[in-house]
C-alpha cells in the first residue's frame, strides 16, 4: 500500500524528517507515536501533499504510483485520506453539501456518475447515526462553531463516507473526551478491513486501547527509532519517550 524509503523533508531550510522508512501493507493498522516536534504531523502533510514542504531525498510509493508526483486532490481521489488534527472551518458551506461535493469529486475522478441525491442522503444518514452526529449538525456550516469533539467526529464521518484505502489519523484523539474517543474509535474500527490501511498518529497510548494497531513505531527527531507490536505502546506509556529513544 505505502512504502516510504529514506525520506528527508525540510521546511524553510529546517530539516524535520531525516531518513524515515516505513512500509504499510494492505489491511494493516500502524501507530506512529512520538513527542512534540518529532515530525509526526509533518509526515502526514507530506503524504497528503501540502506545499511548502521540501522533499530533499527519498521515495514514496503508493499502490505502485509515485505519490510525490500526484497533486493533493489526485492523492485524495486515489484513496488517501487525512483526518486533520485541526479541521478547517468553511463558513457558508453546509456540511452535507461539502460531503456531497467531496463524494462526487471522487466519483468524477474515477469516471463514475454523480451519486443520486436519495442514495447520498441515505448513506449520510446511516453513517452519521453510527457516529452519533445529529441531522441538525449536517445542516450547519462545515466545522463552524463545532466543538473540538464535534470536529473530530466530522472528520471520521467524512472518512467513512469516502471509504479511503489509506487513512492517516493525525492526533484524532486530542481534545476528545472519553465518550467521544470511544465513538470515534468505533467508527474507525468499523471501517477496518483487509483492503485498507491506517496510520494512526498519536501522543498517547490511550487511543490504542480502542484502535488496536498491528504495529507501533516510535518517531524521534525525524526518524523511526523503534518499531514493534502493540506491547511497544504499553512499554512507552510506562517508560516515556526519552528512555525508549535512548535505548533504541
Amino acid at each position: 500500500m505505502l512504502e516510504i524509503k529514506n525520506l528527508h523533508v525540510s521546511i524553510e531550510e529546517k530539516k524535520i524528517i531525516k531518513g524515515l522508512d516505513l512500509s504499510i501493507n494492505k489491511g494493516e493498522v500502524h501507530a506512529l507515536m512520538g513527542p512534540n516536534g518529532s515530525g509526526k504531523s509533518t509526515l502526514s502533510y507530506v503524504l497528503s501533499g501540502k506545499d511548502k514542504y521540501e522533499i530533499n531525498d527519498g521515495t514514496i510509493d503508493y499502490n505502485g504510483k509515485n505519490l510525490l508526483e500526484l497533486d493533493v486532490d489526485e492523492r485524495a481521489n486515489e484513496g488517501l485520506f487525512l483526518a486533520f488534527q485541526y479541521p478547517m472551518e468553511i463558513p457558508g458551506v453546509q456540511t452535507s453539501f461539502f460531503l456531497k461535493t467531496a463524494i462526487n469529486s471522487k466519483r468524477k475522478y474515477l469516471g463514475q456518475s454523480e451519486m443520486d441525491a436519495l442514495e447520498f442522503a441515505k448513506l449520510m444518514k446511516s453513517k452519521a447515526e453510527e457516529l452519533n452526529i445529529s441531522t441538525e449538525m449536517l445542516k450547519r456550516d462545515l466545522n463552524v462553531n463545532y466543538s473540538g469533539g464535534e470536529k473530530k467526529k466530522q472528520e471520521i464521518l467524512q472518512m467513512s463516507m469516502l471509504s479511503p484505502k489509506m487513512a492517516i489519523l493525525d492526533e484524532t484523539d486530542s481534545g476528545l473526551d472519553i465518550d467521544a474517543l470511544r465513538i470515534v474509535s468505533e467508527g474507525v474500527n468499523k471501517l477496518r478491513n483487509s483492503d485498507n490501511s491506517f496510520l494512526v498518529i498519536t501522543h498517547y497510548q490511550r487511543l490504542l486501547n480502542y484502535i488496536k494497531p498491528d504495529f507501533v513505531h516510535i518517531i524521534a527527531d525525524g526518524k523511526i527509532v523503534k518499531s514493534g507490536d502493540y506491547s511497544l505502546a504499553l512499554e512507552l506509556e510506562e517508560k516515556g519517550y526519552e528512555e525508549i529513544s535512548q535505548t533504541a
Binding site: V72, D73, A76, M88, I90, V93, T101
Partner: protein
C-alpha cells in the same frame, strides 16, 4: 430539470473558449451611421414610432448631456470614450415587422437564446419565469402576457409602454433618476433603445418572477436599456435581470437606467446577474458597464431590495440606491462583485433616509483575483427629518493572489441624533489551509476556490430567487477560473 440547470448544462457544452457565452449570431441589422447627434436621436424615435412628447424628452436630455462632465468619483481607470465612434441603434432586420408568434422569429436568434437556455417556448412556462427578451434593441417575444394581464399587471417593453401607457410613463420616467443626474443618466435618457416596463396594480402580488435577459449582440453597439418598475399600493413584484453578451474584441459601452417606484406598503425585489464579457486576460475588450439604478420608496411601509451578482464586464460602475421617503420604509442592498484578471469594479449603494423610522441594510461581498481592482463605495445619508432611522452595513473583501486590490469607501452622513448607523468591514486573503483541506477531500483547486468563495457570498446569494441561485453559484466559480495554481 429546472431551466437554470439546463442553461448551465447547455452553456457548459459550448465552451471552445474560456468565456462560456462567447458566440454571436449572424443576423442582418439595420442601423444608422455611427455618432451621437440630434439626427440619430430623431432616427431612434422615428424607428420606434414614438409620440412627439417622447422625442422632446430625448432631445432635452441630449442638451443636458452635452453640458454635463463625466462623473469622476470612481476609483477606475476608464479610457476616454469616443461617443461619436459608437452606433446608437441596431435592430435585427427580421424584427422590423414585429413577429406574431415564435415561429416567425429568425431561427438564428432563437438558436442564440437556446444556447443561453432562455425559456421562450411554452413548455418552459412550467419553470415559472416570464421572459421579456431583449435582443440588441428590440424585444423579441414576451411570454406569460395573458396570465399577467388578467391580473392587471403590465409587463412589456418600454417602447410599447410609451404607446400603450403614456400616462404612467410620463408620470414616472425620470422621476427617480433625473435626466440631469450625471452624464451617463442623461446619455441614456437621450438614446435609450429598449428595456422593461412593469406596472403592478394596487393590491396585486405578482405570482411569478419576472425576468429579462438582455443581450448585446451587434459589434460596436452601445446598449442603452431603460427599465421602469412601478409597484402600486399593497403590491409585490420580484424581477430578475440576467445579462450575457458574446465575445468582442472592442470595448462596448453600456449605460442603463433603471428606476423603481414603490408606493404605500408595496415591495419590489430586483435581482441582477451580470455576466458580460470581461475582456481577455490582458484586459483587451470587454464591456464598459455604467449603470444607474435607483429605487424610490415613496409610500409608507414600502420596501425595495436590490440583489446583484456582478461577475462580468471590463469596467463595472454601478450603485443601486434607495430613496427612503415613506415613513417606515426599508431599503436593502445585497451585492457580490467578482473581478478577475484585469477587470475593474467600483460598485456599492446609496441609502438616503428621508422618512421617519426608515431602515436600510447593506451586505457587500467583493472578491478580487488576478490583477483586478474591486471597490465598494457606499453612502448612507440620514436627513434631519428621518427620526429613528437605522442602517446596518457589512462590507467584506476577499483577495485571491497578491496582485489584486480591494478598497472600501463608505460615506456616512447623519443629520439626526436619533438615528443609528453600524458599519462593519473585513478584508482577508483566501485561506491556504482551507484550500488544502478541500483539496484533501478530492476537490481540484478551482472547485475548492469556487466552494470557498460561494460560502463567502452565501449571505448575498441566498437572496436570489431559487431558480437563479444555482446559476449564480456556477457563475461565481466560472468567473474565478484560472485564479489559483
Amino acid at each position: 430539470m429546472a431551466a437554470t440547470e439546463q442553461t448551465i448544462k447547455q452553456v457548459n457544452t459550448l465552451g471552445s473558449s474560456d468565456y462560456k457565452y462567447g458566440f454571436s449570431t449572424e443576423v442582418d441589422e439595420i442601423r444608422p451611421p455611427k455618432g451621437l447627434n440630434e439626427e440619430i436621436i430623431k432616427f431612434i424615435s422615428a424607428q420606434k414610432d414614438e409620440p412627439e412628447w417622447m422625442l422632446e424628452w430625448r432631445l432635452n436630455a441630449f442638451k443636458v448631456f452635452n453640458k454635463l462632465p463625466k462623473p469622476q468619483w470612481a476609483k477606475l481607470n476608464i479610457p476616454k470614450i469616443d461617443y461619436q465612434d459608437c452606433y446608437y441603434y441596431s435592430i435585427p432586420k427580421s424584427l422590423k415587422d414585429k413577429p406574431k408568434s415564435l415561429d416567425e422569429i429568425d431561427p438564428e436568434i432563437l438558436k442564440t437564446y437556446e444556447k443561453l437556455g432562455i425559456p421562450l417556448k411554452e413548455q418552459k412556462m412550467l419553470s415559472g419565469i416570464a421572459v421579456d427578451a431583449v435582443f440588441d434593441s428590440v424585444s423579441v417575444a414576451t411570454t406569460y402576457k395573458k396570465q399577467l394581464s388578467d391580473l392587471g399587471i403590465v409587463f412589456c417593453s418600454i417602447s410599447e409602454a410609451v404607446k400603450t401607457h403614456p400616462e404612467l410613463v410620463k408620470k414616472y420616467l425620470g422621476s427617480v433618476i433625473p435626466v440631469s443626474d450625471h452624464s451617463f443618466a442623461a446619455l441614456n435618457s437621450a438614446v435609450f433603445t429598449d428595456g422593461s416596463f412593469i406596472y403592478i396594480p394596487e393590491g396585486v402580488r405578482c405570482p411569478v418572477e419576472l425576468s429579462t435577459y438582455f443581450r448585446i449582440n451587434a459589434m460596436n453597439t452601445g446598449q442603452f436599456e431603460r427599465t421602469l418598475i412601478i409597484a402600486d399600493k399593497d403590491s409585490y413584484v420580484s424581477y430578475l435581470e440576467g445579462c450575457t453578451a458574446p465575445m468582442r474584441d472592442e470595448n462596448q459601452l453600456h449605460a442603463a437606467n433603471v428606476e423603481l417606484v414603490a408606493l404605500e406598503n408595496a415591495e419590489i425585489k430586483y435581482s441582477t446577474v451580470q455576466n458580460w464579457y470581461p475582456g481577455d486576460k490582458e484586459g483587451k475588450g470587454g464591456i464598459y458597464n455604467f449603470v444607474t439604478k435607483r429605487g424610490a420608496c415613496r409610500g409608507k411601509n414600502s420596501k425595495i431590495s436590490w440583489t446583484q451578482v456582478e461577475t462580468g464586464s471590463a469596467i463595472t460602475w454601478k450603485y443601486p440606491s434607495c430613496i427612503l421617503q415613506g415613513d417606515n420604509s426599508k431599503g436593502e442592498f445585497y451585492s457580490v462583485a467578482i473581478t478577475n484578471n484585469m477587470q475593474q469594479a467600483d460598485t456599492g449603494t446609496k441609502m438616503i433616509h428621508i422618512g421617519k423610522n426608515t431602515s436600510s441594510k447593506i451586505i457587500s461581498k467583493g472578491i478580487s483575483a488576478g490583477k483586478a481592482n474591486n471597490t465598494y463605495r457606499g453612502l448612507v445619508n440620514i436627513l434631519s427629518k428621518a427620526k429613528n432611522a437605522r442602517n446596518f452595513t457589512q462590507c467584506d473583501s476577499l483577495l485571491i493572489g497578491n496582485q489584486c486590490g480591494a478598497h472600501t469607501v463608505p460615506y456616512i452622513e447623519s443629520s439626526n441624533s436619533d438615528s443609528m448607523v453600524e458599519h462593519e468591514a473585513t478584508t482577508s486573503k483566501i485561506n491556504e489551509d482551507q484550500l488544502f483541506y478541500c483539496q484533501q477531500r478530492g476537490l481540484n483547486s478551482e472547485d475548492a476556490v469556487g466552494l470557498i468563495v460561494n460560502g463567502f457570498c452565501k449571505e448575498v446569494l441566498q437572496h436570489l430567487p431559487m431558480e437563479f441561485a444555482v446559476e449564480a453559484q456556477k457563475l461565481v466559480a466560472i468567473s474565478l477560473e484560472g485564479s489559483v495554481g
